[in-house]
Symmetry: C2
């Protein structure tokens, strides 16, 4: 009847995600997890090397879910026959915005955590998941017939996505002020509109000889 190792890990991760979502990284405590999971502190450390690994695992789940959300949003538009690039990118952005709104505590924790792992050299699982997101955007850009080779399209996708990301994260504060939500969305609309118009008019790679 007892949960096996895998199931207990899942339970721990679910608890950990809830804790992160409520109080951010500072709220992820070994004793709280143990108590809520009905196991001892030591057992938590048997399942995961340390709290960082718990945090990392939660982040992976979140990134996975975000990717799935994005893919689902794209599939929806596909089914509806929407091919307009601007609309599709806005839909991706909307999915991202909603995701961040639903994870007010844990998403900031993903970013903070993400930043503090500068030790390892090569690309890791994090980068793999993020690249998957970039690929979706790049795919959308490919549909629009801008005059872009693969490299430039990839660069444009990363730029666009990072920009949306910046808008969402600088604008967002935990108390889901609807005023702020509107501001964020206006910025996203402006960015996407300007970006698409800019690409159409080929202003993207006109100059490249700035900064020392």
């Amino acid at each position: 009847m007892a949960l096996d190792k895998e199931e207990m890990s899942e339970k721990v991760l679910a608890i950990a995600e809830a804790l992160l979502n409520e109080g951010g990284a500072a709220n992820l405590k070994a004793r709280t997890i143990a108590e809520q999971a009905g196991i001892s502190v030591g057992s938590v450390y048997n399942l995961f090397a340390d709290l960082d690994e718990v945090h990392r695992a939660v982040n992976m789940r979140l990134l996975d879910r975000l990717g799935a959300t994005g893919i689902a949003a794209m599939a929806d538009l596909e089914r509806q026959g929407v091919t307009d690039v601007r609309h599709r990118i806005l839909a991706m952005a909307a999915a991202y915005v909603r995701f961040v709104e639903v994870h007010p505590g844990s998403w900031p924790a993903v970013l903070a955590f993400n930043r503090r792992r500068a030790t390892r050299p090569g690309p890791d699982a994090y980068d793999t998941l993020l690249d998957a997101l970039f690929d979706i955007v790049a795919g959308v850009l490919k549909a629009g017939d801008f005059d872009l080779d693969d490299d430039r399209r990839a660069l444009a996708a990363r730029t666009l996505w990072s920009s949306v990301h910046g808008i969402v994260t600088s604008g967002y504060v935990a108390n889901s002020n609807s005023r702020q939500a509107e501001e964020i969305w206006h910025q996203v609309e402006l960015l996407v509109g300007v970006f698409v118009k800019g690409l159409e008019h080929g202003g993207a790679f006109a100059h490249a000889e700035t900064k020392a």
Copy 2:
């Protein structure tokens, strides 16, 4: 001969900034500060209510300095007679990128800290400093003769700055990999180029009826 309260606070903040820069928020410890400042732990708590207040004070200094850097960069271009909007925005962005590069540990800490203060209602000193940065960008946009009223120009400034911010923060990792630095700059150039072109062609506010 002893330092007075004000001077000792400065010393503590300088130490705190160095600690943050080396190891991020986790490296800001009361005992380390006390030791390096040559005072006791209790005295740190005499100068500041808690470590959060120390951290906040450090962040204020950083934001102030960033603002000053941006203003200085604009003044330089003014002196050189550069009026091209794209160039001026790129100079602002370059100032920001350099600033983040110089503060590898403390700048991420500013952002993480910034995010976790969602309790107070009204705009605080943080917002005031950030608005100052937006105003600089808005001023630059005003010079370019886009067809924008004040509100839209302000929105465009916030959007552009948040986007640059997103590019820098998602792309940047502590080990100052020159490959990564190049990627960041390419993204910034693309963003700014596309943004200016997009504004020129009036694509910015063409549509506004998306997302439920």
